[in-house]
Amino acid sequence: MNRRHALRHIALISGGLALIPSCDFSKEDILAAYENLKITATQKALLAAISDSIIPAGEIKGALDLAVPDFILVMVNDCFTQENQEKFTAGLQAFPDYAEKTAGKKFADLSSKEKETLLVQGLALTGDENPEGTVLAQVGYFLSSTKRFTIQGYMVSEYIQTEIIPYSLIPGEYNGAVLISDLQKPRVNG
């Protein structure tokens, strides 16, 4: 595949973003809280929508109720290498078009079930060496990072660790041979 071909393929997959990568940013301010990332309010809202699909609200609160999107961006901003930050933001940028191309609709217009199906598909993306593959790999990386931090931000939140599954600073005396069958924990219904 020659270069022009390759670029056209990226343009198809990413909806033109690869050719004019800054066009989105010119219209909207970049959120200053995440100084190493060039993230807009719209992108943060999309991230929020994805985290909401990963851990939705139900009988108990979901990711969106616990400021998980902010936690994800703090972690990516502070704890990712520059290379991984770029992969993450490229994946975030490419996601809307990936969604539209794959599911036939904008992510926001999908039903909960459709969103889940799309995300499960996206999480499995590993991509390959060619340009389309690179973008798909970025989408996959973005989604798997988002899922990992959604789980961490949700489970290690004040709400979960004080109200739902209280964290104990004093875990009690060690028992090195507990029969699993003796452990009866009340089931928490999400």
């Binding site: 990963i54 972690m75 899922k147 004080t162 699993i180 219904n189 999400g190």
Partner: protein, 570 residues
């Protein structure tokens, strides 16, 4: 440099000065104070008062912005200290950052330091195994370094002395190479660790032991420790933050408050020791010259007896920088061995695996220790192609967590009901004895100085062929033992980590019988300046395969009693 010797000499004179407030320094100070000696303890870092200065001790996981993880910025700025397992968001304030105190790595050396009152005793791993004559007789038997001037019988009662005060949990295992001590109730091994211990006993004719490692934690009854204001360990495993219960031993929770209560201790934090003052006319050391960490002003303190326990490499640095007409190459350095024959512990290799057995069991609660393999190589006689041997850590734990497949409500319910059990994971790491040698040394750099105008320390340590053979043997032996136990998915690794990350650097001011080849005598005194004692890691003639801190404590207590007995003779 401004000289701030404004206060009268009398005000700056004590009966004893201890340089360093870490595990050995504070033990020396505590013993001296108990014996009625007016003691000044000098610490280069800021004060850390028990309870008051543990800012993260009761923080919940969600209260850490990065949930404990280091940021990229911190890792970039601190390539050395970021490698330390305990340098995490909850305890990084207790570690020296790379830029704060530069040193010269002639060969790669990860120098892990804690500059504050209490030193590294705040964040140590709290493993306290006694040394035995298999260690003290090692150099003489195997022909390396020099013979230790002491044997187990010289130190035995001091081990008991410090164990009773520090609080050591363990079992009387009756193993010759790991003498029993004064133990509080031990922490049980778990069901898989016990299985492994029994299997090893059977497979190796009772020559290979897996025990519960002895640790400096108060377990069982805390009654003996209420006078120190300490209580039982609560199994928090957050020790590196400082313990609100005083459950583990640290200078801050134990020896320092105890010494302060006698009324005999003065602590001078923020004082960087420049050198020991040697009086040519009197033929002895008379005090130390310090530079205030913050104001950079110079001050001198005087005493009849000095303990230099600044941590292994810094004690070397202080003595090297203490030059005089009598000692142009460093205090007490007639032999030229000061700074040489430094060594460390080889922690490079690890083995891990899985175990499908005992699938009906898991563990609950917490414990501050794990399993331990005392040395089994070359114990009674030379039997391999390398000298000495290694101890090893061993632990088993049950993978237990939620199934994190999928997303949505199913994922959420799985997360909230973590009832999926993986196989038992087993893991081991080695702790190999390295041989002190002339080519491994520390020295002062000829041109680079620190913020206080003191020459930077140059470190030159490396592994050798003996270490490589030992890594290979450990990996082979542990793989064989895991295989015999039916463990699967056995993985071996050699991190090739630089010396230093073991945080067991030792030597440079070694003990020995002969002043021509050693710095310290059998009583921990400089051969040439007997009113100077050294009982920290720098004094070690060889490294053994046991964690060394307990031995520093015992040395410090022993030396303090010797110093007081000597002063009474006069």
């Amino acid at each position: 440099m401004a000289n701030l010797n404004l206060r009268s000499t009398q005000e700056r004179t004590y009966q004893a000065i201890v340089v360093g407030s870490g595990i050995s320094g504070a033990w020396a100070a505590k013993e001296l104070c108990d014996l009625g000696v007016k003691t000044l303890m000098i610490e280069r870092g800021p004060d850390v008062t028990h309870l008051k200065d543990y800012p993260t001790t009761n923080m919940l996981p969600h209260e850490f912005p990065h949930r404990g993880q280091l940021t990229e910025k911190i890792k970039e700025e601190n390539p050395v200290i970021s490698k330390c397992y305990a340098f995490r968001e909850d305890a990084m304030h207790f570690f020296v950052k790379d830029a704060e105190h530069p040193y010269v790595q002639e060969k790669p050396f990860d120098w892990i330091r804690g500059y504050q009152v209490g030193g590294k005793s705040l964040m140590w791993a709290r493993q306290v195994q006694r040394w035995s004559d298999f260690d003290f007789e090692g150099p003489a038997r195997d022909g390396f370094a020099v013979d230790w001037p002491i044997r187990y019988k010289d130190i035995e009662k001091w081990y008991s002395h410090v164990e009773k005060f520090a609080g050591v949990s363990g079992f009387k295992d009756g193993i010759a190479q790991l003498p029993d001590g004064e133990f509080l109730p031990g922490y049980d091994l778990n069901v898989v660790e016990k299985y492994f211990a029994e299997t090893m006993k059977k497979e190796y004719g009772g020559e290979r032991h897996v025990i519960s490692a002895r640790c400096a934690h108060i377990h069982g009854s805390a009654e003996a420790f209420t006078a120190q204001g300490r209580g039982s360990c609560q199994n928090r495993n957050l020790c590196q933050r400082g313990c609100p219960f005083g459950g583990y031993f640290s200078s801050n929770s134990s020896t320092i408050p105890w010494a302060l209560k006698t009324g005999n201790l003065t602590i001078r934090p923020d004082a960087v020791v420049h050198s020991v003052i040697y009086d040519e006319a009197k033929g002895k050391a008379t005090g130390v010259r310090i530079i205030d960490r913050l104001t950079k002003e110079v001050e001198e303190f005087y005493a009849d007896v000095l303990f230099i326990n600044a941590a292994a490499l810094n004690t070397n640095a202080i003595l090297l920088n203490s030059t005089s007409t009598r000692f142009p190459n460093g205090l007490g350095n007639d032999s030229g061995v000061l700074g040489k024959y430094v060594a460390f512990h080889n922690y490079r290799a690890r083995v891990s695996g899985e175990y499908e057995g005992h699938a009906e069991y898991t563990t609950s609660g917490g414990r501050p220790t794990s399993g331990y393999f005392p040395r089994f190589r070359n114990v009674y006689k030379q039997e391999t192609d390398f000298l000495r041997g290694y101890a090893a850590g061993f632990s088993a734990g049950r993978g237990h967590g939620p199934n994190t497949d999928g997303i949505g409500m199913d994922l959420k319910n799985n997360l909230l009901n973590p009832d999926s059990y993986g196989p038992w994971h087993v893991g081991s790491h080695m702790m190999g004895e390295t041989l002190p040698k002339d080519s491994n040394y520390v020295a002062l750099d000829g041109s680079l100085k620190d913020e206080w105008g003191i020459p930077q320390l140059k470190v030159s340590m490396d592994y050798d062929d003996n270490d490589e053979k030992m890594v290979k043997d450990y990996l082979e032996q542990m793989t064989e033992m895991f295989t015999k136990a039916g463990f699967t998915n056995i993985q071996t690794s050699d991190s090739k980590q630089a010396p230093g990350l073991d945080i067991h650097e030792m030597g440079g001011v070694r003990m020995g019988k002969d002043p021509k080849t050693s710095m310290l005598n059998a009583n921990h005194q400089l051969h040439a300046v007997p009113n100077v004692y050294v009982t920290d890691g720098s004094s070690m003639t060889s490294t053994s395969t046991q964690n060394p801190s307990l031995t520093y404590m015992a040395f410090a207590a022993r030396a303090a009693h010797h110093a007081v007995a000597e002063s009474k003779k006069k």
